[in-house]
């Protein structure tokens, strides 16, 4: 993508050991489904984010296959449980070699 992809990752301010906490992520992406005509009647080429994955250290939190029915600027929320300080890694993959990665450190108390 020509422009830098933006993402929002929302974590609680404090994380308690062993207590599930919610993570909310949004990616700036049009999720073009390849069916939509532009203003001139041409079909806008398909460009989708097809996969999201979140890992805590090496352990999988969740992986999600996203289909064209997911709205533009895909938003996901899910729950993580952590017992020790670790890195949360977020990865989005999609059409045309799209890839976006972020990491956040968490420190359960």
């Amino acid at each position: 993508m020509a422009e830098r992809t933006r993402s929002l990752i929302h974590l609680p301010e404090t994380v308690l050991k062993g207590q599930p906490f919610e993570v909310r992520v949004t990616l700036g992406h049009p999720m073009e489904n390849g069916l939509r005509p532009d203003g001139f009647g041409n079909v806008v080429p398909r460009s989708l984010v097809t996969r999201f994955e979140c890992k805590l250290g090496e352990a999988l939190v969740c992986s999600v296959d996203l289909h064209p029915a997911i709205a533009a600027n895909p938003y996901l929320s899910f729950w993580v449980r952590a017992d020790m300080p670790a890195t949360l890694a977020f990865e989005w993959l999609g059409d045309n070699s799209f890839a976006h990665r972020e990491t956040r450190s968490i420190r359960p108390t």
Partner: protein, 135 residues
């Protein structure tokens, strides 16, 4: 503007009906009503971004856990909406997102648990402004 455009359902990959998708996912094993819950507004004013939450009451322990949550739709160009797999660091069997709905239709959430049991919840949704009527 955002659009699925009007074309016959099935034109893209929707060759299979909602029930056929459910049967294929179930792999010949029984699917029972219950445990999994699909939360969505029954009356949707704008089909371009409809919040949904799918939840299963589960301790998410090493042995008693949800492995997979699926959402299918009935009348979008494609039946698939999302497929989520949960690992050992998942705190709850719950996922939320925002989806597109082309028209009023039925949605089904499915969950597969570690013990092999399979559960479903079907919801009828009325959509007043579709994603998308015009280009």
């Amino acid at each position: 503007m955002l659009c699925l455009q009007t074309r016959p359902a099935g034109a893209v990959s929707g060759a299979l009906s909602l029930q056929q998708m459910v049967d294929r996912w179930a792999g010949g094993q029984p699917v029972r009503e219950g445990k999994v819950r699909l939360q969505i507004a029954e009356l949707v004013e704008n089909g371009n971004a409809v919040p949904i939450t799918v939840r299963v009451d589960s301790p998410m322990s090493a042995t008693d856990r949800v492995q997979e949550i699926i959402v299918f739709n009935e009348h979008n160009p494609q039946r698939d909406v999302l497929r989520a797999s949960f690992g050992l660091s998942s705190g709850r069997a719950e996922i939320s997102t925002r989806i597109r709905l082309a028209t009023s239709q039925q949605l089904v959430a499915l969950a597969r648990l570690a013990d092999g049991s399979q559960w479903s919840h079907r919801v009828e949704v009325i959509v007043t402004l579709a994603a998308c009527i015009e280009g």
